[in-house]
């Protein structure tokens, strides 16, 4: 596999719900070991875009390619089986279950035979703690601990560590830092960097330009369902990106219009 082939690519994808056109002519690619930041205002179509990538929606037109080969996902499971893991805000964790049980929900390690296969708690706890620690969450040392007692950032990190452990190649994060404080957000960003270092392709959705700048290699700005800008790190300044996200109006115009 050539390293130039994008892991996941969208070519001229349109998506409409009945008469409502939400995405127009989207072309995007993301490579191994690269973070693609998807920026855009509320209602721009970011969630629709990643739902299309993760098999929740099917494109109305256009094609999707994985490792250069056309693919189509009829169900989220199809995308997952190809190694596309989507983590929603707080999604993928169950507050009243232990760290170990959370980590392996749906893929429990067992010991024993046939109907007497039992959930291997020790193994689950050991691996779960090891994996989240590898992502720098050193505060989790007890696999029996309930996830509800962890911070938002830690829960997000647990979900990401889980996706990576189960062989994800593409990690899609829908606003993982949206409701987090500065420290917690930094936590999640560190984990995004760690996933990238391990060679995953990451699609990172955010509102916050700062968060995007901290981890992004490649940026795409979505405005009313179309790609308004597509550029690499260093091509644009923070102000320019903020302006783009504000819908093309410059920050100065905005400030003028509200009479600052």
């Amino acid at each position: 596999m050539s390293s130039n082939t994008p892991v996941l690519e969208m070519r001229n994808v349109d998506k409409s719900f009945g008469p409502i056109d939400v995405l127009h002519d989207i072309s995007l690619k993301v490579n191994e070991g690269e973070v693609l930041c998807l920026l855009g205002d509320n209602g721009a179509g970011k969630s629709t875009l990643i739902k299309t990538l993760s098999g929740v929606h099917q494109p109305t037109r256009g094609e999707m390619l994985m490792d250069g080969k056309p693919v189509s996902f009829n169900r989220p499971k199809d995308a997952q089986d190809m190694g596309i893991a989507t983590v929603h805000q707080f999604g993928g964790t169950y507050p009243l279950m232990s760290v170990g049980r959370n980590f392996f929900a749906g893929a429990e390690p067992t010991k024993g035979f046939g109907p007497f296969r039992i959930f291997d708690r020790q193994k689950a706890n050991k691996i779960a703690v090891e994996q989240v620690q590898k992502f720098g969450i050193t505060r989790i040392t007890d696999g029996d601990r309930l996830v509800g007692g962890l911070s938002g950032g830690e829960r997000q990190s647990l979900a990401i560590a889980r996706a990576v452990y189960f062989g994800a190649r593409v990690l899609i994060l829908d606003e993982p830092t949206a409701a987090l404080g500065v420290k917690q957000a930094a936590h999640v960003l560190r984990i995004v960097n760690e996933a990238k270092r391990r060679g995953l392709a990451v699609i990172f959705i955010t509102h916050q330009v700062m968060h995007a700048m901290a981890v992004g290699d490649h940026f795409a700005v979505l405005i009313r369902g179309a790609i308004a800008a597509d550029f690499r790190k260093g091509d644009k300044s923070r102000e320019e990106i903020a302006d783009l996200m504000a819908g093309g109006e410059s920050m100065a115009d905005l400030e003028a219009s509200i009479g600052v």
Binding site: Y94, R101, G106
Partner: protein, 358 residues
């Protein structure tokens, strides 16, 4: 970065609380012990603590208990099943008619009865998973549908709503509905282990062990918890949430049918009367046992303790000098205390421990 000394304190002072709170069955067990001691004291004169006295509430508890465990599973999974009130008589009358009217072997009757209940459970499960109607409403509707069918079909086939079921063989009586005693030695040295416990008590015991295994030891238990914790995530993690939910509705329906059958075999009669009381009773046992109404958490041991507590309060009042009418009041208070305890447990467990840092 978490600095080492705050990490220390969190894990240290969290520990004493943790070991206590992490197991809400400990709360249910403590409640049971409290109630047990209370009634042992006030019921001493009237033989509450004797083997025969204990059997009174254990027999009562066993019937609610068999239903409470799968109802607890459903509650953990985020659902309710109140159609059990009509499933109990359905189980009994199908068995009675199979044996009495159609002269089938009792075990064939048991299988037919279980199959019919499973069918109703399947319908409950399908309706809940295919529509987005809350299970409370779905099973409320099927409660009445089944109750209506019980009476109508009974009258059409047998011309009565009261079926008799003659004794049908020693083995089946022994397993399904009889009184059991275990007395060691005889004469002056005789010692009673238990006396006049009904078959349903032993069925409950075995059922609790099997269900405890399913929920806490087998990997399926994890699926039930995950489904109740966050259904969307559970589905995304590849857990077959719909099939699992349907299976749970089938389990609760069959358990209720089984209780109806044990009652029919024991009493040699089966009636179509809907057991509305058992709907509330089973839910009370589950909640007193520490299962969260909001789903995602609970234990079989807790449910068993909750059922025992409920059984004592419901029946134990007869052994005391208190007015019998007070048992409802006792149960109401018990339920309130349990709900408040469960709620504070949830708040404690889901509040981020990092808040201590600041």
């Amino acid at each position: 970065m978490a600095d080492p000394d705050t990490t220390e304190t969190t894990s240290k002072d969290g520990f004493s609380l943790l070991s206590l709170f992490r197991r809400p069955e400990a709360g249910a067990a403590a409640g049971f012990i409290l109630i047990f001691v209370f009634f042992s004291y006030f019921g001493w004169e009237k033989n509450f603590l004797t083997p025969l006295g204990s059997s009174t509430w254990l027999n009562f508890a066993s019937k609610v208990g068999i239903i409470a465990i799968p109802v607890g599973f459903l509650m953990i999974a985020g659902e309710l099943d109140i159609s059990v009130g009509a499933m109990i008589p359905a189980g009994g009358i199908v068995l009675a008619m199979s044996v009495g009217l159609y002269e089938m072997n009792i075990w064939v009757g048991v299988i037919i009865s279980l199959a019919i209940c499973a069918g109703f459970g399947f319908i409950n499960g399908m309706l809940v998973t295919r529509t987005n109607v809350p299970s409370l409403i779905v099973t409320l509707a099927t409660l009445f549908v089944i109750a209506g069918l019980n009476a109508y079909v009974s009258k059409q086939l047998a011309g009565t709503t009261q079926h008799s079921l003659a004794d049908v063989g020693v083995v089946s009586e022994f397993i399904m509905g009889d009184y059991h005693s275990l007395i060691l030695g005889d004469g002056d040295s005789k010692f009673t282990i238990f006396r006049s416990l009904q078959s349903s008590f032993f069925i409950w015991l075995i059922f609790a062990i099997v269900c405890g295994y399913i929920l806490h030891v087998s990997p399926w238990g994890n699926w039930i918890f995950a489904m109740g914790g966050d259904q969307e995530s559970a589905r995304n993690a590849g857990i077959p949430t719909n099939r699992l939910k349907i299976a749970l509705f089938m389990l609760s329906a069959m358990a209720a049918g089984l209780v109806g059958m044990t009652e029919a075999v024991l009493a040699n009669t089966a009636s179509t009367t809907t057991q509305f009381g058992m709907i509330f009773n089973s839910i009370i046992c589950v909640v007193v046992g520490g299962v969260l109404l909001t789903g995602g958490f609970g234990t079989v041991t807790g449910t068993v303790f909750g059922t025992l507590t409920f059984g004592i309060v419901f029946q134990g009042i007869n052994f005391t000098t208190f007015d019998k009418d007070l048992n409802m009041l006792f149960i109401g208070v018990l339920l309130l205390v349990a709900v408040l305890m469960n709620d504070s447990f949830r708040n404690w467990a889901t509040s981020a421990s990092t808040s201590k840092k600041k």
